[in-house]
């Protein structure tokens, strides 16, 4: 099964608007899926869903903000562009604080909408990329032996080989070997790269990871 294409999800209780937005976004080459109720949308949602969500604030049943909250609880990072019939400032502040990409008022100009959707899609890609890099690093880190991890933690903390050898009660040569293997397994060329990878993994701060 091929992974799903990044899709613009439209959620609005007005079928006419869904149809018009679909038409506009498709003209710009987006893959679009429309939903007229929150329940329908949430049912179609799964881990592989990528893209963004254009979301109406006022809907019968589950409203836009509730859908946003729901998505956060599910841990789905789908970026959200809000669309509303009667928007006010407190409402837009609430939406943006909760991580929305934009808060647009109907009737919406196509340029604004497309800009917001593109940004949302970009955010999605960025988040995706971030997520996949981290996953790769983790995988590499998993391959290290406990000793190599220990040595790596000391290295990224900025300690010299001699100091590390003293701390761990072993020879400096030994430390050099562990350090070389860890860099090899983590697929980094320099100390700086190793430090950056450790930062991403959250290593080096707090107690050493065992």
């Amino acid at each position: 099964m091929t992974p799903p294409l990044p899709t613009v999800h439209l959620l609005d209780d007005e079928p006419g608007l869904i149809k018009a937005l679909t038409r506009l976004l498709k003209a710009e080459g987006f893959v679009v899926r429309g939903f007229t109720s929150a329940r329908e949308f949430l049912a179609a949602l799964d881990d592989t869903t990528v893209g963004c969500l254009v979301l109406d604030v006022a809907m019968p049943g589950l409203g836009g903000f509730e859908v946003q909250e729901h998505l956060m609880r599910l841990g789905n990072p789908l970026p959200i562009v809000f669309l509303t019939g009667r928007g006010d400032i407190p409402m837009s502040v609430q939406a943006l604080k909760a991580g929305a990409v934009d808060f647009l008022t109907k009737p919406v100009d196509d340029a604004h909408l497309l800009r917001a959707v593109r940004e949302a899609m970009a955010q999605c890609v960025a988040r995706r990329e971030q997520a996949s890099t981290l996953a790769a690093l983790r995988e590499r880190f998993e391959r290290l032996t406990p000793r190599e991890r220990e040595v790596m933690q000391h290295v990224v903390a900025g300690r010299l080989n001699k100091q590390i050898a003293a701390d761990l009660g072993t020879g400096e040569q030994n430390i050099k070997v562990h350090r070389g293997r860890a860099m090899e397994k983590m697929e980094v060329e320099s100390l700086a790269d190793l430090v950056r990878a450790a930062e991403r993994l959250g290593i080096g701060k707090g107690p050493p990871v065992v």
Binding site: A20, L24, G85, R86, D109, D110
Partner: protein, 625 residues
């Protein structure tokens, strides 16, 4: 001292005087028959007194007998007088009985001429001189009584019986004057007749050796009767005075009536059928646009009545005279300068002596001002209804803005999509066309929303047209959709198939339904979200359609009618005019609007035994052509 001469001549003189007086009364008032009868009776008494005087001074038995025979004519005259008087004065006499008495007396008189010397005696043998009342007079000392001497006595008794009978009947009739008269006149007559008869019998039987003294007792009788008649004459004078007084009173009360009429701005009129003449007060004349003075006739009146109202006024008047009932009419009068005036008239028909309607009395008043006020009030009510509609729309404005904004959003998006399809190097005309079709549809929808809104705000007068109840409910639900959603109210629609159209103004009926639906929503605000259910149903009801709006809210006050009273409200910022206005709208449609507590749905899952209210709206169906 010649007592007898003085007494009997006085007796004769007084009797003559009374006869003269009553003869004079009769001459002036020929209808006073009892006066003539009394005059005759008095003449008889005077003659009898003269005869008795002669008897007492008779020189021989032959002379005595002759006088006695003549005296009987006087007595017969008295009989006729008494019978006549009783008949004329009492009105209760049995004439046959009186006739018998007169006939007996006449028979005795005739018998006295032929077989004997007098009706009493066959023969008078001797007279005797006696001293009486200081005078020498003669009395019969030896005589042979006639075998029919009982006849005069019998005639007297029959006469007494006749008077007594008439008196008793008069007593029984029991009018205010009857009883005293029966006692005084009847009693006096009976008593004096019996007295004189008894005395005469005792004299005839030789027990009493005194002269006949009929005249004084009869004089007493005629004095009594004269007094009785005199009372009548006095009473007549009193009556005249009383009539004058009453006339004065009547004038006074007429004047007061006039004053009251002026105060109340009423005009009075009286219409005599027989002569056709109409009398009317000044005010009535001015109200009806008739000349201030001079003769009035029906044609003059009817000519003033507005041509359109003439037929109905004439019909009402004819109907009133036909069955003798009252007359009520409200019509227009056209004044001389052409201005119309509204007039209300009431009349009562009075029957004449023959029991048939003879006249009509009534009032008339000017109702132009009241009419104008009524129209103004209707205008104000109309204005109020309009304002409440405006208020209703402003209450809905949020959702209405959305209703208009939504199609605009769709139109803009479709338009821009179309622009993009056409801007491509290879324009996608198909997609652009589809977008344009959607634009057209959405523009239509926006127009529809505005049309509905304009309809709601229109301040036009009601136009009754056939209205489809399903469309009506659908329209209202469309207008309310957003509000219902926002309030979390679930709307159920139960509309029967094949409902007839109702006669109404769609906009006004919409307003009523909107009000009822909004009220229902507001009543359920305190309910948990799942307990907010509004049911709009429509079904046939008799010859019309009943629309019911049932909520599950806080319910009605104990007296459900109170909610229709102006300024009754349960909302903190409510005016309390919505339902009264709804009701007045429904009434103007000839329909009914009422409220009742909702009966908990049998086994209703989501509302259990919750309270709530149902508003019923019943409207007549349009006759199908």
């Amino acid at each position: 001292m010649p007592g007898v001469t003085i007494l009997w001549s006085m007796c004769a003189a007084v009797s003559l005087l009374i006869a003269g007086i009553h003869l004079a009364v009769w001459v002036r008032h020929r209808a006073a028959k009892s006066s003539l009868a009394l005059a005759l009776l008095s003449l008889g008494v005077a003659a009898a007194a003269g005869a008795e005087y002669l008897l007492m001074h008779a020189a021989s038995p032959a002379e005595f007998a002759a006088v006695m025979r003549w005296a009987n004519f006087a007595i017969l005259a008295m009989f006729v007088g008494i019978v006549w008087f009783v008949r004329a004065e009492f009105g209760t006499a049995r004439l046959a009985l009186g006739g018998v008495a007169v006939a007996l007396r006449a028979t005795a008189l005739v018998l006295g001429y032929f077989p004997g010397v007098t009706p009493m005696f066959r023969e008078i043998a001797a007279l005797r001189e006696v001293a009486w009342l200081g005078e020498q007079i003669v009395v019969v000392s030896a005589a042979t009584p006639a075998p029919w001497s009982w006849l005069p006595a019998l005639s007297n008794y029959v006469l007494a019986l006749f008077v007594a009978d008439a008196s008793i009947r008069l007593w029984r009739r029991g009018g205010p004057d009857d009883r005293p008269r029966a006692l005084r006149a009847g009693g006096a007559m009976v008593a004096f007749i019996l007295l004189s008869t008894s005395v005469a019998m005792l004299i005839n039987a030789g027990v009493l050796r005194v002269p006949y003294i009929t005249a004084p007792s009869y004089l007493a009788m005629i004095l009594m009767l004269g007094f009785e008649l005199g009372r009548d004459i006095l009473r007549a004078r009193e009556l005249v005075r009383e009539v004058r007084r009453r006339e004065a009173q009547l004038n006074e009360s007429e004047r007061r009536l006039q004053l009251a009429g002026e105060a109340a701005d009423l005009g009075f009129w009286y219409w005599e059928m027989r002569t056709g003449s109409i009398w009317a007060t000044e005010r009535a004349r001015s109200i009806l646009g008739l000349p201030a003075s001079g003769e009035l006739t029906y044609p003059m009146f009817i000519e003033r009545v507005h041509a359109e109202d003439r037929a109905i006024v004439e019909a009402r008047i004819a109907a009133a005279f036909l069955d003798g009932s009252g007359y009520d009419a409200e019509y227009r009068v056209v004044l001389a300068d052409g201005t119309p005036r509204w007039v209300t008239a009431h009349g009562d028909v009075a029957a004449g002596e023959d029991g048939r309607p003879a006249s009509m009395t009534g009032v008339v008043f000017d109702t132009t001002e009241r009419r104008r006020a009524e129209l103004e009030l209707a205008d104000q009510r109309h204005e109020l209804a309009h304002l409440s509609r405006v208020a209703l729309v402003s209450e809905l404005s949020g959702s209405l803005a959305h209703e208009i904004n939504q199609p605009l959003a769709i139109i803009l998006t479709n338009a821009q999509a179309a622009q993009r399809f056409l801007a491509r190097t290879a324009p996608d005309v198909g997609e652009a066309r589809e977008a344009l079709a959607d634009i057209v549809r959405e523009a239509g929808r926006a127009g529809e929303v505005i049309r509905r809104l304009r309809g709601m705000l229109r301040n036009g007068h009601a136009v009754l047209k056939p209205v489809d109840v399903r469309d009506l409910i659908e329209d209202v639900c469309q207008l309310m959709r957003r509000d219902l959603d926002a309030r979390g109210v679930r709307l159920l629609r139960v509309i029967a198939d094949g409902l007839p159209a109702v006669a109404g103004d769609a906009v006004q009926l919409q307003q009523v339904l909107l009000n009822l639906v909004l009220n229902g929503c507001e009543a359920m605000e305190g309910n948990p979200p799942e307990g907010r259910v509004l049911t709009v149903s429509a079904a046939r009801s008799g010859s019309g359609v009943r629309v019911s709006i049932a909520d599950t809210g806080h319910g009605l006050p104990a007296d459900a009618e109170r909610v229709f009273q102006p300024f009754f409200t349960t909302k903190p910022d409510g005016l309390g005019l919505g339902l009264p206005i709804c009701r007045s709208i429904v009434k103007s449609h000839g329909g009914r609007l009422w409220a009742e507590p909702r009966r908990p749905a049998s086994g209703g899952a989501d509302d259990g035994g919750a309270t709530g209210a149902v508003f019923h709206l019943e409207l007549d169906a349009v006759e199908h052509s």
